[in-house]
Symmetry: C2
Amino acid sequence: MSPTSSAAIPQYLDKQRLQVDAELERILPGAGEYPPSIHQAMRHSVFAGGKRLRPILCLESGRLFNGDERSLRRLGCALELIHTYSLIHDDLPALDNDDLRRGKPSCHRVFGEATAILAGDALLTLAFEIISEPGAGIEERRLEVIHDLSHAIGTRAGMVGGQVVDLETAGHTTSAETLDYIHSAKTGSFIRAAVRSGALDAGANPEDLGRLSAYGGRIGLAFQIADDLLDVTSTREELGKSVGKDDQQHKATYPAIHGIEESRRIAVQLVHEACQALEPYGDRARRLQELAHFLIERTH
Amino acid sequence: MSPTSSAAIPQYLDKQRLQVDAELERILPGAGEYPPSIHQAMRHSVFAGGKRLRPILCLESGRLFNGDERSLRRLGCALELIHTYSLIHDDLPALDNDDLRRGKPSCHRVFGEATAILAGDALLTLAFEIISEPGAGIEERRLEVIHDLSHAIGTRAGMVGGQVVDLETAGHTTSAETLDYIHSAKTGSFIRAAVRSGALDAGANPEDLGRLSAYGGRIGLAFQIADDLLDVTSTREELGKSVGKDDQQHKATYPAIHGIEESRRIAVQLVHEACQALEPYGDRARRLQELAHFLIERTH
């Protein structure tokens, strides 16, 4: 029986988040560094209050194989830079046209479209600069992380591919299969890569990597289903971003296709499978299992 | 005395370009690959007829140190993907708002803004996927290439930083110092990194790398001065993109600050210095020296 999310998890997440934020502060150029506007825009979006889910997944995955803490923390921060790049570009008027993100005005609302586009570009670029920094980790592992990650955020069933199909299907009737493609490409593949990156950096063998991939793939999809559910069931204040946007934009969602109850059931089942994949590690995988449960608890 | 561009250089460039294009064809997803729109947009801009200057510089730089041809060619293609990403984003309405690029409609004119933004993102991402591909080269060298290159195209005196200052100074009086920052950051740093990348991939030692950096830095600035001159002196048909845009957008240029004749003199001097930096290699550096001359001959 896999554990449910423990009472201690919010404190644990807070502590991890603060460590990640401190490292992000060291990584990002200062707000006064030339040219200041772009660095202010990057910092605005990175420090707008994210949960740091991807860095924490990377850290916990790497800890399972006794990875180096500093190396994992830097790598985790690079993942957060990539995540923030994707949010900035998604929010642009030409894409989702969202004015609010993480409870604050989105990047282009504050800094204008040109700077927002370039800030996204710069965060993606900085992520690769951080992952490749000298002495960061073992070189061949880092190169494998870059390859794995860049594939996961690219066009071939990766993040950009998912975003394209999401945009193109808005306003049209979408099949359950297409919706699964969108979710697994747009969100799932990057979350899975975040989990894999920690394991890769820590030198996990192929069998271990397979287990972590199974875990990451399932929580990635569960997380997106939870996100769909929150868009239907939350208020703007709870969510810190515009709600009901999926419906307004006629985007396909799990609740729209499968209904709210069935969507919840699928998410619970995915989390169950994710936790099962880690059972060979016994209590050492407890945090990752708790995280899986935590991801969907928000939706109850 | 450094050689001037030989009569054979156009044929040489054609041959190199065809090799690069054949490799780009292998690298880019097919126009029918799912999701097709993004792959068509990426291909539209990559195959719109570029000179492949950065790949050719990478190839020639690596050949000087007996680098592996296939490895250099793949790396060179990654540079071209990055170059194309920067062109697509620069042309967007929020930035330079350019309808014409390399003689064809710019990406957003054909595929819309959303797809153009994502196509740029995807090309940048694919570049890192290619540089990090397994068996591509020696791992520690490839990681160094990624680090060097991502810095050169970032915000700290890199390509994005230059673009930001270029946009922000448009319409204002710009000092010669700021113009040098824009040119060296926006264009020069990436061209320098292209030259360095080939040398790094081929295992050049620090002293060699210093010479190639000196060469790359100077031709990068000379190239941008030549570009400024062409904007003043060419027709739309010759250039394959809108002309006189710099003046219309009140952008700072070398001819505007230094005058046409003085700008030409500076470019010639930079090319002379670039060629001098390679003199220790004698005749083996002839192609790189010819390329330097070729870059500014267009402006006579």
